[in-house]
Amino acid sequence: MSEGPPLLRVEGVRKYFALTKGILFTQTLGYIKAVDDVSFEIRAGETLGLVGESGCGKTTTSRMILNLEEPTEGRVLVDGEPIHGLKGEALSAYRAKVQAVFQDPWSSLNPRMKVGRTIAEALIVNAVGDKARIHERVRELLLQVGLRPEQAQQYPHEFSGGQRQRVALAAALASRPKLIVLDEPVSALDVSIRAQMMNLLKDIQTQDNVAYLLVAHDLATVRHMADHTVVMYLGKIVEQAPTASLFEDVRHPYTRALFSAVLVAWPGRQEEEIVLKGEVPSPLNPPSGCRFHPRCAWVMPRCSQQEPVLREVSPGHAVACHLFDNA
């Protein structure tokens, strides 16, 4: 990995959503702690995988990085500069630097706009140049994502799901971003198309040195794409490590349960199986101490009283669990 300051730095961010009652005389009933003290870094040209189940806060985290959501506490820095509170030109410059591709390309493309126009719009906003220059760049982008230049004249409905996701990617690449937030980019795609898209994302990363924040629930996808992986549970990071090290040696009981729940395709190859009891508790009233303790198979008295801190157990591999307090 390259040294130097990280491209993206997330510093102790929290996001609490107030749960209110009434319209005129609003009363706050409590706070949903969607993200609670999360920190990580991404370096240029690197991929960070953010995994967890629904409600773990991975999407809220990515929305804060995209400046679509203001953190309740903490900072997000891109190239060393805090992104929240940016205005005018500085905000536009940031928007050009950080782009996003979402799960469902149907909802991110305008159905009444030719895809060439959708891509061109990103170029016009960023004042790339005159008409001919924009036309040329749209052509380039379509070729880069594996589409034909003449397909610029088609509407989104004329494309298959995989092709639409390529168009969304071309639009994201238009401003030559340094970071792309990929929110479940392949989970809506078929198996064979998913592999094509994953290969394409890797190729583009090699060519353009763009960094990815890959938000995904599929561990196998993360294994193939990410350099580092962060596992979240109920708004907290429970484990983070270089991907290779994480997949070799899973430490946190929740991560272990998550890994064992991934159905290994080959029948009879399952090693250990941990079926979690119950469901994820409400983030409105998370359990005391370790948030995972009511479902944990290794629960100790300490777990319900004291919140474990994220500590390094081997180089780069950090776990938030009392089992590793003396490690």
Binding site: V191, A195, A220, A257, P267
Partner: protein, 330 residues
């Protein structure tokens, strides 16, 4: 057909008749489902797996879909010939279905209890009287307990939006099996669920199957789920089953080039990380299917014969068949 077979589909053709042409979504599907087994029906979007299920249930979508050929034998009788009234008798009692999204299967304005009671009453053909109410409620509670829902008495008065996705899917399951059907069709039942909840649900389904001996036709696109759930697998491509066999053989020695390519393109949890294998091109248009093998245009082994003639079904092993000219018969 053996005595064990509960559901047999023979040469099923379901097409959409549209103004701009005929979409041959299901075009010659045959398979047999035996008592107590799980048969996986795998394929990518648009291969016709869900429409096959809907044809069997005779719940085709409105807008030009018609089953024009074939037989669906449930315990030996062709249900395609039944009247709509007779079909209503069969659904829920002898054959049931669970869909992907529990949110759309449940009615949002009725409580869970109401919806369960309705299913139970319909099965009993009993009027809803004060006397039957207590009995039916007791059965509804038992049905919820069976699908491992904690505190079922309290759940009865709740509405779907008060439950999590995994819980709703359990309720749908409880309704589907309340009539003790011999065949359950599960169409991507866990696709909308988180992985840890998916594992809970699959284990539950296995347990219920062991208890009741029902046969399950499990439709999915996820090979992980197939490996976990199924005894046999049928792989569909462009409206036809191209390969069918025991799950281990399909994984360890797939015969059809499509199955092989599909399995190779799945990202794995172990082994080397590198470029994934892909299948180039697109499936053929269902409005304009090729005369020969439907996979030929994307197949690396294709030769002239593959383009000209649809391959015979070749036996490649015990209970293992593939529609391909290039495989070696056993």
């Amino acid at each position: 057909m053996t005595s064990e077979t509960v559901l047999e589909v023979r040469d099923l053709h379901t097409h959409f008749f549209l103004r701009r042409g005929v979409v041959k979504a299901v075009d010659g599907v045959s398979f047999a489902l035996r008592r107590g087994e799980v048969l996986g029906l795998v394929g990518e979007s648009g291969c016709g797996k869900s429409l096959t299920a809907l044809s069997v249930m005779r719940l085709l979508p409105k807008g030009g879909a018609r089953t024009i050929k074939g037989e669906v034998l449930l315990d030996g009788e062709n249900i395609l010939e039944h009247t709509p009234a007779k079909m209503r008798e069969i659904r829920g009692r002898r054959i049931s279905m669970v869909l992907q999204d529990p949110q759309t299967s449940l009615n949002p304005v009725f409580s869970i209890g109401d919806q369960l009671r309705e299913a139970i009453l319909r099965r009993k053909r009993a009027p809803y009287t004060r006397a039957s109410r207590a009995e039916v409620t007791r059965e509804a509670v038992a049905a919820l307990r069976r699908v491992e829902i904690a505190a079922p008495e309290q759940r009865l008065d709740q509405y779907p939006h008060q439950m999590s996705g995994g819980m709703k899917q359990r309720v749908v399951g409880a309704i589907a099996i309340s009539g003790e059907p011999g065949v359950l069709i599960a169409d991507e039942p866990t696709t909308a669920l988180d992985v840890t909840i998916q594992l809970q649900y699959l284990k539950l389904l296995k347990r219920l199957q062991a208890e009741t001996g029902m046969a399950i036709l499990f439709i999915t696109h996820d090979f992980g789920v197939v490996g976990r759930m199924c005894d046999r697998v049928a792989v569909m491509y462009a409206g036809r089953i191209v390969e069918c066999g025991p799950v281990r053989q399909i994984f360890e020695a797939p015969s059809h080039p499509y199955t092989r390519a599909l399995i190779a393109s799945v990202p794995t949890m172990s082994g080397p990380v590198g470029r994934l294998a892909t299948i180039e091109g697109q499936p053929p248009s269902l409005m304009d299917l090729p005369v020969g093998c439907r996979f030929a245009s994307r197949c690396s082994l294709a030769e002239q014969r593959c383009l000209d003639v649809y391959p015979d079904t070749v036996r490649v092993g015990e209970e293992h068949t593939a529609d391909c000219w290039k495989v070696v018969p056993a």
